[in-house]
């Protein structure tokens, strides 16, 4: 197992499309993890979400959000990144559109399309909160020892 270089970390952030966000729910004293589609630009993960527990918790505790991605072939062949950052909502309309366009297909397929067809014509992604998690601290690790390598540990 070894640490990833800064360049390898950036490459992994660009390679993956799905990550996991982890937030702590102070009221219930428990953590909450959900898979999310994201786009990486300029040191931040850009995301959009419909109202729900994840957004409530992010608003409540915008600092110290955990963001995790990985590319795992098997137990002996993987790359993984853990980052911590802060939640920032994007409310400027032009910036919202720029971010939503990063998601390409999602505007005409999948969850955004469904919500667009819900009577909110004229504004893509209306009802969605668009936001970024600015990644302040990152640590990446990789293992290339192969499956047998871990078996013999």
């Amino acid at each position: 197992m070894r640490d990833l270089s800064k360049a390898e970390i950036e490459a992994l952030l660009r390679h993956c499309k799905i990550g996991r966000i982890g937030v702590f729910d102070q009221r219930h004293q428990r953590t909450y993890v959900v898979p999310v589609s994201y786009q990486f630009r300029d040191g931040a993960a850009y995301l959009h979400s419909a109202p729900g527990l994840k957004l409530d918790l992010l608003h409540e505790q915008p600092a110290g959000v955990c963001f995790q991605i990985d590319d795992i072939a098997d137990e002996g062949e993987w790359r993984s990144l853990i980052a911590w950052g802060r939640f920032e909502e994007i409310s400027d309309l032009d910036e919202r559109m720029r971010v939503l366009r990063l998601f390409g297909d999602r505007l005409t397929r999948g969850p955004l399309r469904d919500r667009n067809q819900g009577g909110r014509a004229g504004m893509l992604g209306a009802g969605e909160t668009v936001y970024r998690v600015v990644l302040d601290e990152m640590t990446g690790r990789a293992d290339e020892s192969g499956w047998l390598g871990t078996e013999s540990d």
């Binding site: 996991r20 953590t31 993890v33 898979p35 963001f67 995790q68």
Partner: protein, 99 residues
């Protein structure tokens, strides 16, 4: 989007072996989220781990640990299970049998 039944969720936990575990450290005021290999038996997730930040955090705050498993084909076809539970270390014969 629809909600899975408890039975569906258990089936998904049974047929997967990679999940994400999240824990929290009050002293660092930080969440920690990592991929883990696991085995699911008797309504529990069984994980083997070496000493490190994950184990430190779990020992410091064993309650309210989150475990997430998903099967994502694309934006339209996906399943995801989110579970919450408490951490407990295992010893004795149980330890060898489960991991």
């Amino acid at each position: 989007m629809e909600e899975l039944t408890r039975q569906d969720a258990e089936r998904i936990l049974e047929r997967n072996h990679l999940g994400r575990l999240a824990c929290y450290s009050p002293s660092h005021d930080t969440s920690y989220l990592v991929p883990v290999s696991y085995a699911y038996h008797d309504a529990s997730i069984h994980v083997a781990m070496l000493p490190g930040r994950k184990l430190d955090f779990l020992r410091e705050h064993p309650q309210g640990v989150c475990f997430e498993v998903d099967e994502i084909a694309n934006d339209e076809t996906w399943l995801s299970v989110i579970a919450t539970g408490d951490f407990a270390e295992m010893g004795g014969p149980e330890r060898a049998a489960r991991c």
